[in-house]
Amino acid sequence: MLLELKDVRKAYGSLVVTDGVSLSVTEGEALGVIGPNGAGKTTLFALITGAVKPDAGAIRLDGRDITAMPAAQRCRAGICRSHQIPHPFETLTVFENLLVAACFGRAMREAEAADWCVEVLALTGLLAKANRLGGTLTLLDRKRLEMARALATRPRLLLLDEIAGGLTSAECEALVGTIRTIHAGGTTIVWIEHIVHALLAVVGRLTVLNFGRKIAEGEARSVIGLPEVRDIYLGSPV
């Protein structure tokens, strides 16, 4: 088991955002996470990456308890995420954005890191913009950069938060292709996405959150067909 969450709980004041969620991700799989707005999906990522500390429960990586491990260290242990709202390093070039990630997220030497970054840039379609400043990118490119930067840390577990929102259908297809490539290379993926058809093109398993609780989990197509998922999330059949 690559990642395991056990009864993880997080509350902001009286608002319980993650209410005893348990979750396992096996090495090499691709898991989708869906749920209404405010269900606690992004918070779940924050808990896994260590940006937010849980009130209770345990988080394990490779069976090792990492609940108290600081965020930066978890990254070096192989967990990296993209942010729902992109946070590019605005005064750094796209290439440098990736270089930071490669140097610190995976402690590579700079020369080695540079080669690796070129590879990731090419994969994510950002190579032509390598020397542009992060702050000048369009929304689409910012999202690409989020993913590319996470990828530059050579994560074993890649967490993607709403990476397909705001894309045209063609762009979306291209993105799905890229994510499949990454997955095929052996990276484990957990993907939060509201664009359900894109999600289904990649993930095999789906977890549904509502009000901080896991309400359904299983093989993607069958979960999507559940009536309760339709009622609280989809509104209509896909």
Binding site: Y12, P36, L139, A170, E171, H194, G235, S236
Partner: protein
């Protein structure tokens, strides 16, 4: 006379030109959808109308008066409201205060009041005293829409309001558009989700690299025409 009349509009970010001699009108009570690929200039267009990006005075007319390049606050007080891309709630205001602040110093009276908004989005009523930014993305989008509506604008600008929303919420948000239109409010809808946009719009304009490449009624436009207008070839 059109409510909003845009003629030969150029827009710049420093040296970079984002809009090229754009012409566009929005009639009273009309819903116009603006579509186009990423970076086509849709958000730029809205920012220029609202005065966040400078424009030639005569290039934008609202209610017959030239407003191009006026300070944003002046423009918005004339009866334009905007739901900005990325929601942009005020973190130190509660949900209710976020809604109320939308009515600051603006004219316009009509259907939209706090009570009416809580009816439209019941979850906001329940969390009226939480800080606006403690809400989830979808809830925040509702606040952003409510905040714009509360001034009862005659023109409502929406920048990608379905971005990041659960399918069921998108449906709800779009479901509320007819009741907004019913008040006689004209709407300019910038949207990636073409299907949604075409379903509610009276008219569609497609932008490509800062120029309008297509215009027409949804029913009249073929899939191929849109495809072509989007990406050129």
């Amino acid at each position: 006379m059109a409510l909003l009349d845009i003629t030969a509009l150029d827009a710049f970010y420093g040296d970079f030109q984002a809009l090229f001699g754009l012409d566009l009108t929005v009639g009273r009570g009309e819903t116009l959808a603006i579509i186009g690929a990423n970076g086509a200039g849709k958000s730029t267009l809205l920012k220029t109308i609202t005065g966040l990006i400078p424009a030639r005075r005569e290039a934008v007319r609202f209610d017959g008066e030239p407003i191009g390049g006026l300070p944003a606050a002046d423009i918005m007080r004339r009866g334009i409201a905007m739901v900005p891309e990325g929601r942009k709630l005020f973190p130190s205001l509660t949900v209710e205060e976020n809604l109320l602040v939308g009515g600051w110093g603006r004219k316009g009276s009509g259907r939209w009041s706090l009570a009416a908004l809580y009816e439209l989005f019941p979850i906001l009523g329940a969390r009226r005293n939480s800080p606006g930014t403690a809400l989830s993305g979808g809830q925040q989008q509702m606040v952003a829409i409510g905040r714009a509506l509360i001034s009862n604008p005659s023109l409502l600008l929406c920048d990608e309001i379905s971005l990041g929303l659960a399918p069921i919420v998108i449906r709800d948000v779009y479901a509320c558009l007819p009741s907004i239109r019913a008040e006689g409010t004209a709407i300019v809808l910038v949207e990636q989700d073409i299907v949604q946009a075409l379903a509610v719009a009276d008219r569609v304009v497609c932008l490509q690299e800062g120029r309008a490449t297509l215009e027409g009624r949804p029913a009249e436009l073929s899939r191929e025409a849109i495809q072509h207008a989007y990406f050129g070839d």
